[in-house]
């Protein structure tokens, strides 16, 4: 167990190293005249050159990346070239917004998808067809279109929620809830669709297993067999899809945040990439990669808890 976690963390560190190296190289190659962009059109050539030296842009790639990496290991990601804010501060304050809607969406998706998927697989017939049809639609319609539809319907026409803005949870819980409801719903619908299909598939598969018949032959009711044995066996594949969804939702949040004007990673990502703010972009890449590594590790641990055959070694 412990060796498994250590090994996974090590391979995660390798993944982080590769991703940041690739990202830094790409940013370096395509960086263009960043110093000019920071100082604006009116700066003199000398000022621009001085700025470039100050930022270390005159050094070769290896040296620049080496400098970034040696600081990053100590937890120092530098400062934004444009706002001067510490990257760690800027990213982590926005990370909490993004994570709160992504985690909310994943939890809701898990609950709804398991309910719908089990219902469709166990009942079959008309219910199954309805669930399948809805989940195909939910899968096919892009998340930001759903977000726009929700804004139009619930915020602009029905005026149930504010269309934009974010209230920190520390300020007011009710306000926070109202500000994240629509974004979470917009994100969750697509995830529900995908996970429902997977749950339906793996429950159908598990229901046809021999041990289900044997357990029922021992006098266990079909509900008990479904909720205890089938669900646990179907849980593995469903969790794997949920993990993929989690990663996908971090990406989806970028767009949804923009629709609802939430101050999350998405906003920062759009600003920083259009400006070429390398420290911020690197911070974002690192943060998303860390999320991916951590989520995958947690899912693997959950898989092992569900299925004793998965050996953690």
């Amino acid at each position: 167990m412990l060796t498994f976690i250590v090994r996974r963390l090590l391979s995660g560190a390798v993944l982080l190293f590769v991703i940041t190296t690739v990202a830094y190289t790409l940013l370096y190659l395509g960086g263009g005249d960043i110093a000019r962009r920071i100082l604006g059109q009116n700066a003199t050539q000398e000022q621009v050159a001085a700025k470039a030296v100050e930022l270390g842009l005159d050094k070769p790639l290896l040296e620049q990346y080496g400098g970034w990496l040696s600081q990053a290991v100590t937890g120092d990601l530098g400062r934004s070239w444009f706002s001067g804010q510490l990257v760690t501060v800027g990213v982590s304050s926005r990370l909490s917004v993004t994570l709160s809607i992504v985690i909310g969406a994943v939890l809701i998706a898990a609950v709804v998808a398991v309910t719908l998927g089990v219902l469709a697989a166990v009942r079959g017939g008309v219910i199954d067809r309805i669930v399948q049809f809805i989940s195909v639609l939910g899968f096919a319609i892009p998340g930001f279109l759903i977000a726009l539809g929700l804004v139009l319907l619930f915020a602009i026409n029905l005026k149930l929620f504010k269309a934009t803005g974010y209230v920190p949870i520390t300020e007011s819980f009710a306000g926070w809830l109202a500000s994240v409801t629509l974004p979470v719903a917009a994100l969750a619908i697509g995830a529900i669709a995908s996970v429902t299909q997977q749950v339906r598939g793996s429950v159908t598969d598990a229901l046809n297993r021999d041990y289900v018949r044997t357990l029922r032959s021992r006098g266990l009711g079909s509900n008990r067999v479904v909720y205890k044995h089938v669900l646990r066996n179907a849980g593995g594949p469903a969790l794997a899809v949920l993990a993929v969804q989690f990663v996908g939702l971090v990406g989806g949040a970028v767009i949804v945040e923009q629709v609802f004007a939430l101050p999350g990673l998405g906003q920062l990502a759009v600003q920083s990439t259009t400006n070429g703010d390398i420290p911020n972009v690197m911070g974002l890449v690192l943060a998303t990669a860390v999320i991916v590594v951590v989520v995958n590790l947690l899912i693997d641990l959950a898989q092992a808890a569900l299925n004793p055959k998965v050996r953690l070694s």
Partner: protein, 599 residues
């Protein structure tokens, strides 16, 4: 975004693409989706020619013109540009850019999958690692970073997205190729001197073609969604009209002119939905053709409903006839509902009596309906199967049309079941012990401690050397013979009156078979149970049974005391079964051909 792409069934290469197409068109959903996509494709090709105005011609006079005014059929946008012209021109760019993504993903994924799957070795591990890396990245963050580097080109960003999506094709092709690579027909092709290129194109591409088409439809939809999303964020190239750009423009005027968002939303939404529905319809068509094939194969075994001929009966000897009848099956028909509403019958009306304490053999070859008979007594026929006619009387209880409520009082406590394949009949996610304890607590109402003690005693009784260790083990930690003993312990745990054993020794090693049969015989005597022993082995019948019924093609052809049948088998099928063991000395030899029995 690393979106999940649903698994696609792999079918044999014999299925021609044309028949798939015909199947697809017959499905109304697939037809509508295909029709809409054809329309979109036409607009993509000819749209710019059809546009009534220059899509980029801005005008202060026409800003936010309502639909229909001044000849602007769909109105004008925030810069006074004609919405219809922009929509028509945008289709070409949006669809074209999505196709760039698909082509890049196809080129990388399919080539990589073929090479990695076919040649393996280092290429295999490198490309698997790369796909893992790509799939771990949140796609949109990469696209944003790429935009910072390469500028706002929709073509370039879609090409990069194609790279990000290539694992979807890679994994599909890789899985198919590794499955096919070691098939005999590929070996044969190699031996006969075909070059690798020919083998790949002839034998391997044909296998993956249909799933790749399905995947491509899905990925086109995802590409359109991502591309529109980027443009919606304002990160697209503003100089060309695109669906996402139009949507972004409409969003800024969401309070003044929400109708501006309608057209691009419809274009994006309907195209994505059509692509997904098309992919689903294709998959359904594929699955249907493969299940149809399977069913045809199954149908051959079960055969057409035979005429119900007279059953050859043997007079009971005095001892056996004395017992009270426990299970009485009359005119049992078992059928499976087909999607087209018909019912495929697999058991065509059989009678069967089992007396208290009797061991009754039900013998016949695979597909003769003996297992179906056993499952219908347990009320555990597979999905779609049901008792279509006849009665099953169990100690005064009618089971043929009984619901779950009746069966809950019967299963486990009065009728128990020992399956054929031991490993697949234990739930791998739970310990052996918990699977034994749970039914005892539910059925007998025992406390956890009492059930545990009883389970340990039973494990010792069925001959497991270390009951405590087995109790705490998971199914994958014990052997097949041990698993069968565990299943027998579970079956007798609630002291049943009737034990249905479905080929309980077929899956076991020969040395273990005899031990398990001995165990069953001992337990049957000890618990005073009746037993229905389903088998295709007359040796087992001779060893264990009091009476035997011979089943063929869903009918019982001969029935009576074992001794009598062994000595005077009358039905030719019974004789052929007996000959199979007597002559060869090999109890599991091939059975005589069916045509002998038509008499």
């Amino acid at each position: 975004m690393t979106e999940l792409v649903a698994p696609v069934p792999i079918v044999s290469p014999t299925r021609a693409k044309t028949s798939l197409m015909r199947r697809l068109v017959r499905n109304p959903v697939g037809l509508v989706a295909l029709f809409f996509l054809a329309l979109v494709a036409l607009v993509a090709v000819f749209g710019p020619l059809l546009a009534p105005a220059d899509p980029n011609a801005a005008s202060l006079q026409t800003i936010l013109l309502a639909p229909g005014e001044q000849g602007y059929v769909l109105g004008a946008d925030s810069a006074g540009r004609d919405v219809l012209s922009r929509l028509l021109s945008a289709t070409q760019i949006s669809i074209g850019a999505a196709l760039v993504a698909v082509v890049v993903a196809l080129a990388l994924g399919v080539t990589g999958g073929l090479l990695a799957g076919y040649y393996g070795k280092w290429f295999d591990s490198v490309s698997s690692w790369l796909t893992g890396l790509i799939m771990a990245l949140p796609g949109i963050v990469v696209l944003l970073a790429a935009r910072a580097v390469l500028g706002p080109s929709v073509w370039l960003s879609m090409a990069i997205f194609g790279v990000l999506m290539s694992p979807a094709f890679f994994r599909l092709v890789y899985a198919s190729v590794t499955a096919v690579r070691n098939e005999l027909y590929v070996d044969a092709a190699r031996v006969s001197g075909l070059r690798d290129g020919r083998i790949i194109s002839r034998h391997i591409l044909s296998v993956v073609r249909a799933p790749v088409i399905i995947q491509a439809a899905m990925i086109t939809g995802i590409a359109i969604a991502i591309q529109s999303g980027l443009e919606f964020l304002g990160l697209g190239d503003l100089s060309v009209p695109t669906w996402g750009g139009m949507l972004s423009d409409g969003f800024t005027k969401i309070y003044n002119a929400p109708v501006l968002m309608l057209w691009p939303s419809l274009a994006i939404g309907l195209t994505c939905i059509s692509l997904t529905l098309l992919a689903n319809a294709l998959r359904d068509a594929l699955e249907r053709s493969s299940t149809a094939k399977k069913r045809r194969r199954a149908g051959k075994v079960n055969g057409a409903p035979a005429e119900r001929a007279a059953v050859v009966g043997h007079a009971d000897d005095v001892r056996a006839a004395k017992g009270e009848v426990l299970l009485s099956v009359r005119d049992l028909h078992v059928g499976y509902d087909q999607p087209d509403g018909s019912v495929t019958q697999v058991v065509h009306g059989i009678d069967l009596d089992i007396r208290k304490g009797e061991v009754h053999g039900l013998i016949g070859e695979s597909g003769s309906g003996k297992t179906q008979t056993a499952f219908s007594v347990l009320g555990l026929l597979p999905a779609g199967g049901r008792v279509s006619k006849g009665t099953i009387d169990f100690g005064g209880l009618q089971l043929a049309d009984a619901g779950e409520n009746v069966y809950r009082k019967v299963r486990g406590k009065r009728i128990a079941y020992v399956p054929q394949e031991p490993m697949s009949n234990l739930d791998g996610a739970f310990t052996i012990g918990s699977q034994l304890v749970e039914p005892m607590r539910v059925v007998l109402g025992l406390s956890k401690q009492a059930a545990t003690e009883r389970a340990l005693a039973l494990l010792a009784r069925v001959g497991l050397p270390d009951p405590k260790k087995t109790f705490a083990s998971y199914p994958h930690e014990i052997s097949g013979g041990q698993a069968q003993r565990v299943l027998i312990a579970g079956a007798v745990s609630c002291d049943p009156e009737l034990l249905i054993a479905d080929e309980p020794t077929t899956a076991l090693d020969v040395t273990v078979q005899a031990e398990v049969l001995d165990l069953l015989r001992d337990l049957q005597a000890e618990f005073g149970m009746a037993m229905l022993l389903v088998t295709h082995n007359f040796g087992v019948v001779a060893d264990l049974c009091d009476r035997v019924s011979v089943m063929q093609s869903g009918l019982i052809v001969e029935s009576g005391p074992v001794r009598s049948i062994f000595n005077h088998a009358e039905h030719p099928y019974t004789q052929s079964l007996l000959d199979a063991i007597l002559e060869d000395g090999e109890p599991r030899g091939a059975l005589a051909p069916r045509k002998e029995v038509s008499a």
